[in-house]
Amino acid sequence: MAIRHVKIFSLFERFWHWAQMALIMVLLFSGFGLHGFHHLISFETAVTLHTLAALFLLLLWAFGTFWLFTTRSWRHFIPTLSGMWQVFHFYSLGIFKGEHHPYRKAYWRKHNPLQALAYLMLKIVLFPLIWITGLIYLFYFVWRDLPHASDWLTGLAYVHTGAAYAILVFVLVHVYMLTTGHSFKEHLMPMVNGFDDVDLTPEEEAYLLKDEPENIR
């Protein structure tokens, strides 16, 4: 086993991540504006931004989901308990004692177990919660004449808002996590240039060196 600098985030994955980041920022900002928490932009602008950003994000997710399944990358997000305790122990205690992060990225496991679980929950719980309620909300004009449509809209709006708070919490923790372990920059760079230190098996290393030399340094 050897730690090598390997490209683990493809160009599409990085584009996906950063585009998603920007769109979620726009959605949070415009959404909380619509909710009345700030008046930095007009309601009309907020509605426009929120709707456009949501539609672009849905499009991006459509591509992202297609990419996940065609490249088999979805396997990175399969939940596992293996190593979970160590990671949890590190964040709650070890980190204060100056210990090193217990997790070593593997070529087919680029997230630590806690991270993978968090991203999985985001993908299959929080995001669907917000985009499904958001889409139904957006298409209110189609179902507005159903009985009690306004009450349903109220419920939808509450779920949508609740999910937004949860996503904001995720964003805060996610950004903070970049500061743990190595430096902020070291955490950030993989998502910029795609390369990170990965614990490769001799077979993986041999394969990469021979067939994909541009992806290993």
Partner: protein
């Protein structure tokens, strides 16, 4: 150059407005129609196929208005029959849904109370000649007044059909004589000033009643009314209130609160005056997400709600409160009046009159917004009400989000302390106008006037009169502002906005679940606190670690 012309026009307009305003006040309550230099747009009826100055029958000296009418009907052979069907003539409307007998002939309003029994005065605004009591013959077509609507000289006027008390009739003396021949030859399609003769002066003065119909609409700038603006479309009333056989589209008694049909096919839809009948059901051109959303809003909001940001604009105030309790005060045995309000165009308005009581005027008013299904229910003269449940709604309405016919509409509420039969719990017909010693206007005895009015109408009266607080609701539909002055989203989508308190809808920006927000904020702030704590402990731990190493 265009700017200069525009300003010059504005100055001219302002001058013209002030001039007509002054005229209106001096010849109250039936100011003559003011001629306008160019023809107004009367919808499909424009152009004309006849020049009335060329008709031999009109080149004669007419002694009375009825003589002119006979001349009119000699060519317009079917018009008399048509005209006798319409509400301007019958003053009656039986609501097909509620079965209520409505119309000026029957209703009590909370302005000058009742026309019934006071026709000698009130029927000045009847499109006929000589209705002063029950004896008026509604089948006599020669009694139709063609000129009040069709005169284009601006010199035509009417005076009360009966003398009334000398204290009042003095107001109508000394009018200049009319040249009926010239007036008859001038006839054309009605213009705003023709309709405005009565409709701008409902309730006893300029814009008193409706709030959205005032003399400011005779020659309005586009900014006051985008359709009627002389520097814009210059629509006559009949451009929207389209006419078929002298029946007009658009009724206050039965309102199309939500037009589901839109424009219809060419030549159709001569039955409504709704915005949608011209603008369609998706009135906003969809070139953005916002305009798409605006079209959605048409399902829940009347067009008027956003497009009439305020009523009683254009410098003419409307009355918002009237107190009949204070009527009847005299000085040296005579009635008097007090100026107390100067409106936007500089004119003074009376805030007290012995014959009517105290008034409150206001202008540039934000309407009241309510769900409205188009159905008005009236407290008529034979409606019993609970005197302890005040204010009594002269007209009330229902509507809610679940009802497909309902939309959110703007209203002018009018609050009045009105004389009533507190013994029986009914409204009363007050005898205001008359030459006898019971008419309130001139004698100032309310008990006597009510007893007389109720007896004359053959109605039960307990003999115990008092005053009840009443409210009436006037849907706001005129004074449509140019689109750049329409309300913006925040007008309603905000806490404390215009739709504050309106139930039955979730309004983003206004509505929040307090617990959800509290939990959300605690979660976000809590996360930040944990992060800060975590970071702090890390920093302290690493500092200690560094010290340990040294």
């Amino acid at each position: 150059m265009r700017l200069f012309l525009g300003r010059a026009l504005m100055v001219l307009l302002a001058g013209a407005l002030m001039a007509t305003g002054a005229l209106a006040q001096s010849q109250w309550p039936t100011p003559p129609a003011t001629p306008t230099p160019t023809d107004q747009i009367s919808g499909p009826l424009s152009g004309g196929t006849a020049d009335h100055t060329k008709f031999e029958i009109l080149k004669q000296t007419f002694a009375t208005g009825s003589d002119v009418t006979r001349a009119c009907l000699s060519c317009h052979t079917e018009t008399g029959q048509h005209f006798r069907q319409n509400i301007h003539w019958t003053w009656e409307y039986k609501n097909p849904v509620t079965g209520q007998q409505l119309g000026k002939k029957h209703l009590v309003n909370n302005f000058c109370t009742n026309a019934r029994g006071n026709e000698g005065m009130c029927a000045q605004c009847h499109a006929g000649y000589g209705w002063k009591d029950e004896g008026f013959d509604f089948n006599d077509e020669s009694k139709i007044d063609c000129l009040v609507c069709h005169d284009r000289t601006g010199s035509y006027y009417k005076t009360p059909n009966s003398a009334g008390s000398p204290a009042c009739s003095v107001m109508f003396e000394g009018k200049p004589p009319m040249d009926l021949s010239q007036i008859a030859q001038s006839v054309s399609l009605p213009e705003r000033a023709n309709c405005g003769t009565c409709h701008f002066n409902g309730g006893g003065g300029d814009n008193v009643k409706h709030g959205d119909l005032s003399s400011a609409l005779k020659n309005p700038p586009r900014s006051l009314d985008v359709h009627m603006g002389v520097d814009g479309l210059n629509f006559a009333c009949t451009a929207c209130h389209i006419t078929n056989k002298h029946l007009w589209a658009g009724s206050r008694y039965q309102i199309a609160a939500k037009d589901q049909e839109g424009t219809g096919l060419p030549g159709q839809r001569r039955d409504v005056a709704t915005c949608e009948s011209c603008h369609g059901l998706t009135p906003h051109h969809v070139d953005s997400i916002a305009s798409f959303k605006r079209n959605d809003h048409a399902s829940s909001l009347a067009c008027q709600t956003c497009h009439i940001p305020e009523y009683a604009r254009g410098g003419v105030a409307t009355m918002t409160h009237w107190d009949w309790r204070t009527a009847g005060k005299t000085r040296n045995g005579e009635g008097y009046h007090e100026h107390g309000y100067t409106q936007g165009n500089g004119e003074h308005r009376y805030t007290y009159k012995s014959i009517k009581g105290d008034f409150i005027y206001a202008e540039n008013l934000v309407p009241l917004y309510r769900w409205f299904d188009g159905q008005m229910n009236y407290t008529t003269i034979d409606t019993k009400f609970d005197v302890n449940q005040q204010p009594i709604a002269i007209n009330d309405f229902t509507g809610n989000r679940e009802d497909r016919r309902s939309r959110i509409w703007p209203f002018k509420p009018m609050y009045t302390w009105l004389p009533a039969d507190v013994g029986n719990g009914t409204l009363v017909y007050t005898h205001l106008w008359g030459e006898d010693d019971s008419s309130y206007w001139g004698n100032y005895d309310m008990g006597k006037a009510i007893a007389f009015g109720m007896k004359k109408a053959g109605l039960p009266y307990s003999g115990q009169y008092g005053f009840v607080e009443t409210v009436s609701y006037w849907p706001i539909t005129h004074m449509v502002a140019p689109k750049e002055q329409a309300l913006n989203c925040e007008s309603c989508h905000s806490v404390g906005g215009r739709l504050d308190g309106l139930k039955g809808l979730y309004l983003p920006g206004r509505d929040h679940h307090p617990w959800l927000d509290l939990i959300g904020i605690i979660a976000v702030l809590g996360t930040l606190a944990v992060i800060l704590g975590h970071a702090l402990i890390r920093t302290l731990a690493s500092l200690r670690g560094q010290r340990g190493q040294h």
